[in-house]
Structures are given as C-alpha cells and as structure tokens.
C-alpha cells in the first residue's frame, strides 16, 4: 500500500457523506497520556482498531487485552471498552466505527442497504462475533484492508463508494473467518462442536442450513459434513433434527405450550411438518405422545 492512512475523519467530515454508516475512520495518534481520558464504558457501535505502533493495554468486555502492532481488535455494541488504567496508551491506531441498524429477532446483524452480505451470512457473522471470546485478532491480511479503505475514501476515484462498501463487507467476513480459525475447529473438533451445539439450542427456531453451521465452525461444507458424520454418526441436518425433537419432547411433557408453538419454537416449518417428523421417529404424533404422558403410568 503506497498511501498511509489520513487523520481521523469524524462526524462532520464531508468525505463521509456518501457513507452514513461509517461513524469515523482514519488514523488516531496518541502522543501523550491524558489521565481518565479513556474510562471503561459500553460502546454504541461496532468498533474496529488496528494497531500500527505502540502497545495498548485495554479492557474489552471485562477482559484485559494487550495489543501489539499488527493486531486488530473488534468491539461489539454493548460491550464495555476502555484503557486498563483509565487512559489511552501512547501509539498509533487505525480506527473504524460502523453503525449497526439493529440485531433482528432471528439473531441477524442488520447493517443497511450498503452491505451486500446475504441474510444467511449476516446471521453467521453475528453469531460468530457474539460467541467470540477473543476480541484481539492476529491476522496479516487485515491491515492492508484498513489502508485500502482509507485510501479509497481520500482519493475518491471512480467507483470508490462501491469499493469502500465492498471492503467493509470483506473486513467483516475475514475477521469472522479468522475468529473461527483461532478457535481451532481443526485442532479440537469436539470442543468447537459443543459450542456450535449450544448455539443451535439457543436459536433452535432458526432454520439452520449446513452452510451456516459449517461457517460457524470455520470449515467448508464438505469437511464439515464428513466430520460431523464421523463424530456424531449423523449428517448435520439429521443431528439437528435430534436436538429439535428432544427439545420438543420436553415442551410436550410440560403441557404449557400448544403444539403449533412447540413446532415453531423448535424450528419446524409447521405443526404438520413437526407431526410427520415426530411420528416417523417415535411412532406416534405429538398429540398422542402428550396424551400418553399426561396419564400416570
């Protein structure tokens, strides 16, 4: 990258008018320590930092993190963020703050029209970011992307809006890929599979696809299919049906929820779909099952 990033562009910068979703972007240079200038507070937007120079002691989401040049930090809306000693350390950073419209009911990140990420990608990206407990990412191909985004905004050549938005999407994708890699699905498949399973249970009403589940594990779909089959004995979607039915059984026994609601809560398309799947496996319909379990046997 021949160009180095420019000074921080903030709220009123005219360069950012085509990018209402970018709150600020650019270089942040800290020359001196200002006491109590950087207390630990919840952040409002999605923040990303790339360290160019210096050493930063931060508290991110109640954990002490030390960042060195080349490291990238990702802080999610709602997470607390500040300096270890209440001030910012001396050094140079590239900073990027993105506005997130909302997180929808299905657990998808809503970024706005500028982003070309698909629904399914936005779900997986948010799940990965949310579950990630290691906000510092060491990855050599992230720094050039920050630099490139800055250069495009400054130079404003043909197609720069498209290019910048594209780079922002790419940043999110590569950060998530690196997070799953750091989590090490290859090294410790059982452990990452346990995490995936926990997440499936928490979002059981979502109609998970194999691509989404594989992405959560940081694996391609072929490798994911093979590994899940070898580890659990089931193809991923069948394993998912196991979880859906076992959760449904619990709800059926509790007698508080009606069958249509149980079907939707546990991720079936309809009570009909629930009923046929349930019967195929257990030999009786959810209704029959519930009746049988209300009498004392």
């Amino acid at each position: 990258m021949p160009h180095s990033p420019f000074k921080l562009l903030g709220e009123n910068a005219k360069e950012l008018i085509p990018f209402p979703h970018v709150i600020d972007i650019g270089l942040e240079v800290v020359n001196s320590i200002k006491l109590n200038s950087f207390p630990c507070l919840p952040v409002k937007n999605l923040q990303m930092y790339l360290v160019l120079d210096g050493r930063f002691n931060w508290i991110i989401n109640s954990k002490h993190e030390v960042l060195y040049p080349g490291d990238t930090a990702v802080i999610l809306p709602g997470q607390e963020f500040g300096g270890l000693h209440g001030h910012q350390d001396i050094g140079t950073l590239v900073r990027l703050q993105l506005r997130i419209e909302k997180i929808d009911n299905d657990g998808r990140i809503v970024l706005g029209k500028w982003s070309k990420l698909s629904k399914s990608e936005r779900l997986v990206i948010w799940q990965i970011l949310k579950l990630n407990d290691c906000p510092v990412i060491k990855c050599s191909y992230l720094p050039p992307l920050f630099q490139e985004a800055c250069a495009e905004i400054r130079d404003q050549e043909l197609g720069f809006v498209t290019r910048v938005n594209h780079i922002l999407d790419t940043l999110l994708i590569l950060i998530c890929r690196q997070i799953t890699r750091q989590a090490g699905a290859r090294r410790d498949f059982p452990q990452t599979f346990t995490n995936l399973e926990k997440n499936l249970r928490q979002n059981l009403s979502h109609k998970w696809t194999v691509e989404e589940m594989a992405a959560m594990m940081g694996l391609g779909t072929t490798a994911f299919n093979e590994k899940v089959k070898a580890y659990t004995g089931f193809p991923p979607l069948h394993y998912l049906i196991n979880i859906r039915i076992s959760e449904a059984i619990k709800l059926l026994k509790l007698k508080e929820t009606n069958i249509t609601d149980i079907a939707l809560k546990t991720g079936f398309y309809s009570s009909q779909h629930f009923s046929t799947t349930f019967k195929k496996l257990t030999g009786h319909t959810p209704n029959e099952f519930r009746k049988r379990n209300t009498t004392t046997e």
Partner: protein
C-alpha cells in the same frame, strides 16, 4: 437369517450392533450426544436426546442393514455406562438432565462419608468405592443441596431405566448396573439399609430390581410399528458397560484379567468371590448371581494422551487430532524404554484407583537438558500405562494374574499393547471384535437363547486375534521407573492438595 442386536448407551454415544447368531457382526451404527458442563464438577446429559438418538440410530441400522436383507431380529440386549442418576417426577417426566458418571459435585459428601465408619461398612456391603461418581453420593448431594428437586423426585433412576421405560413402560434395573450405584448390598442383593439412610430415601424411590437375563415387557406397539420389529422380539435388560467389556474380553479363566482403555480405563477380573480391599481401592460389581466383576478404574486413559496431542502435536500439516496422535505414537517409538529417565504422572483429571485422590495432578518428573520432544511423547504414554499397571498390581495383591486381554481404542494401539505386555511382563491378547462391550452383550443374549449352555462357555468362545509377548529386556527398566512412579504418586499427596486448592481459587 436370525440376528441379535446390542444397544450400548455409552458415555458419549449410543452404539448399536447387529450380530448373526454365531457372533459375526453384520451391521453397526452409532450416534453421539453431548455432555453439558454448566459449572465446574457438573457433568450432565439430556435423557430425551439420548432416547431420540437411540431410536434414530436403531431405525437407520434396521432400515439399512437388517430389513432389506430380511434378517429377523429375535433378541435385543442393552448395556449402559455406570453411575448415572436421573430424578423423575410422579408422571415419569425427567427433572432436569441426568448426572453422568463423571459428575463430581458430591465431592464433599463423598469425602465425609469415606472417612466415617459407616462409610467403610457401606463400601463392604455395596462393593462401590465411596466417590462422587456413586449414585449414593449424588442422591445425598441432591438431598442436601437441591431440596426442591429432591422432594419432587418420585424416583431416582438410571438413564438405562429411563430409556427402557420409554420403550416398554416398566421402571426396571438389573442387579448388575444396580451394584454400581453404591446402594445395593451385593451380598444380600437387596437395597442396602445404611446406604438408603445416608442417601435419605426409601427403597420405593428406586427402580425394581431384575436379573440381567430378565426379558422385558413387549415393545410398545408404536415402536414395533415405527421400527418394524415383531411383537415377539425378546428384549433383555442386560448389564453395565464395565461388566460386559469383561465378559466380551473373554476373561474367564481363574488367572486372567482384562484391560480397557478408552478416554478413561479400567483393569478387571471375574470371580465367584468379592475382593475385599481394606483400603477401599477396588470395586466389586455383580455380573450375574454367580459372578462378580472386580477391579479399579482410572480417569486418565486416552484422554491424557489426547490432551498432550492437542497442546504439542503438529497441526500445521495434519488435519485432525487423530492423525496427530498417530504421528506422535510414531515419534514415541524413537525413544528408548523408560524415556531416558523422564517420568509422567498422568493425573490430569484427578485419579480414582488405586490412589483415589481427586486432587492429584499431572506431573513430568526428572526433566534434564538432554530430553527432547520425543521423550515427552513416550513418557506420556508410559505414564498412562504405569497407572494401569498400578491398578493391576493392586488386583494382584488379591489374586494371581497370569495373562490379560486388552480392548478399547487406546489399549489396542499396537505400540501401547506391546508396552503393556512389557510393563506387566505377561502376554496380552487383543480380541477379534474390538468392541468388547457389544461382544459381551451378544454373549449374554446368546446364552439366554440357549446358543451357549452357560455364561462361562460363552466367555470362553471369544476368539483372540493376536497376542503380544513381553519383552524380557525392557521389563526391568520399566519396573525401576514404576517404583519411582508409585512413590511419587503417594509422596506428593500434600503438594497435590495445595496445588488443587490454588487452582480452584483462580
């Protein structure tokens, strides 16, 4: 063709295997389920998921390997892992998840009971070492720490009881699995009064006891239909994984023992008498009304090697942990017996037999400047096997062992089996069917069908694939280091307690 199906409800997965009547495997299938660790010492499983997984695997196996070939299932035999507890309400609804064998939340209760005189007599009567694994301790824990669930519980059952109840309506438990609850008097074969009193329950809150050969009620009609099984299929309650692994390991002669090493491990013998160990180091479980399975369990089998592989293996070029472990075993062969003086105590998960010390921790001892990675690899494997040997030695203080069989994924790695033979200084055989639990369940069902005239004839029918003979040169080397291994394991007691306390404060 007629066939027998065995269903093993294991620690991580259900394994269902179909045998023809002569014992050849004609199909197998498995499905895993998760273990939840919601807090330190907690280890739970979802009984409904286990049931559904079992049904699903069963259905797949029947539809793929049995029905298309017009095989007729004439008997089904169960086995299950030991020590699980599931409280259920008066409608049979599970009150939360089941406690698995690995749940340690009752460690204070266990400590207290173990050091009391009543604890000693409960061990003598029930044959189950006083340990948090024991359902006795788990129920006592619920009584003291989760009063609401304890009071709501109409019964405290095992996962096997739950699954069998779903299939056939009855709440039953075989004497074999019951003898691993710490609540059954293994001499009188009744629930033990002292143990019940300690747990704080009446016998009516436990399942009904039946022999391992007990034929269960008919399969509920809906399952007959969905699985495509006939009304007349004979369902046997069966036994526990540990007892069946011993039977299926072909250990029956007086002076034989079997070594099982998967993630955890055990050394076991069969006899008509209980092994009375004054230090409470060994278990005595019932296989049938005539035979006891006695032995000692370890927490640190293949799991300790897998830990090593995950930390120090080379993941750059290899795809997964199994391949990495294979490569590490390769590297281990490049070091000499005894790892040139590097010693490993494998107590990553605390330890059961023979030291029964939950605070024990892993230790590399004797590292010098010449030691390389290959020494550490070999020392890790040797340490795991010394631990197995120390259980074997405890057993030998009660009875003679002249030969052994080995099974389980770790023990049957040829390098490990050879090492075991060298350390034990005895021949060790590997059975033809690596899955000795299923083999044991098949033998039980086949005996019940009259294919074998007795369970001992059945055990003697087990064929061995290979035998590893001990290497007389290396045994003395291992014995020198084993002496040190034993001394360190005992000597470090105070330090183990201190480090465990420091670790729990983190």
């Amino acid at each position: 063709m007629e066939c027998i199906i065995t269903i093993e409800i294991g620690t991580n997965a259900v394994r269902i295997i179909a045998f023809d009547l002569t014992g050849n495997v004609i199909g197998s299938s498995k499905g895993s389920y998760p273990t939840f660790h919601v807090a330190p010492d907690y280890s739970e499983q979802d009984p409904d998921q286990m049931f559904i997984t079992m049904l699903y695997v069963m259905k797949n196996l029947l539809n793929e390997r049995i029905h298309p070939f017009h095989h007729e299932v004439i008997s089904i035999c169960f086995s299950a892992s030991m020590h699980s507890v599931l409280p259920i309400d008066k409608h049979g609804v599970a009150l939360g998840n089941a406690f698995t064998w690995a749940d340690n939340r009752g460690k204070n209760e266990a400590e207290e009971l173990k050091n009391s005189s009543v604890g000693n007599s409960i061990y003598d009567s029930t044959g189950t070492p006083i340990h948090p694994m024991s359902p006795l301790i788990k129920i006592a824990w619920l009584n003291r720490n989760d009063r609401d669930r304890f009071n709501k519980a109409a019964k405290f059952i095992t996962i096997k009881t739950y699954i069998i109840q779903q299939l056939t309506k009855d709440y039953l438990l075989d004497y074999s699995l019951a003898s691993a609850t710490g609540l059954l008097n293994i001499h009188s074969r009744e629930w033990d009064t002292d143990a019940l009193e300690y747990a704080g329950i009446a016998a009516s809150r436990l399942p009904d006891l039946v022999p391992v050969f007990q034929k269960l009620n008919k399969l509920r009609p809906e399952y007959q239909k969905s699985l495509g099984l006939s009304e007349g299929v004979k369902i046997l309650i069966g036994s526990s994984d540990g007892c069946l692994a011993t039977l299926g390991g072909g250990v029956w002669e007086k002076d034989m023992a079997t070594i099982t090493i998967e993630d955890s491990g055990a050394v076991r013998v069969v006899s008509k008498e209980v092994l009375k160990d004054s230090k409470q180091r060994l278990f005595n479980y019932l296989l049938t009304d005539k035979y006891y399975i006695s032995g000692g369990p370890t927490n640190n089998g293949g799991v300790a090697f897998e830990w090593f592989a995950k930390q120090f293996g080379d993941f750059k070029s290899l795809y997964d942990v199994d391949q990495v472990m294979q490569q590490l075993v390769q590297e281990a062969t490049k070091s000499r017996a005894g790892s040139d003086g590097l010693l490993f105590l494998p107590y990553l998960l605390g330890e059961r037999a023979p030291i029964w010390n939950a605070n024990a921790r892993g230790t590399f001892f004797g590292i010098n400047i010449m030691h390389e990675k290959r020494h550490f690899i070999r020392a890790t494997i040797e340490g795991i096997l010394y631990e197995i040997y120390s259980i074997g030695k405890t057993l030998e203080s009660h009875k003679t062992i002249s030969s052994l069989t080995a099974n389980g994924s770790f023990a049957s790695i040829p390098f490990c089996t050879q090492l075991l033979a060298d350390i034990f200084n005895k021949p060790i055989s590997i059975g033809k069917n690596p899955d000795s639990i299923a083999q044991g369940a098949y033998l039980l069902a086949a005996t019940n069908l009259g294919i074998f005239d007795s369970i001992s004839t059945a055990a003697k029918s087990v064929k061995m694939a290979t035998t590893f003979d001990p290497n007389k040169q290396t045994n003395p080397i291992y014995m020198k280091y084993f002496g040190l291994f034993e001394r360190l394991s005992n000597k470090l007691q105070d330090e183990f307690a201190d480090i465990a306390r420091l670790q729990s404060d983190i």
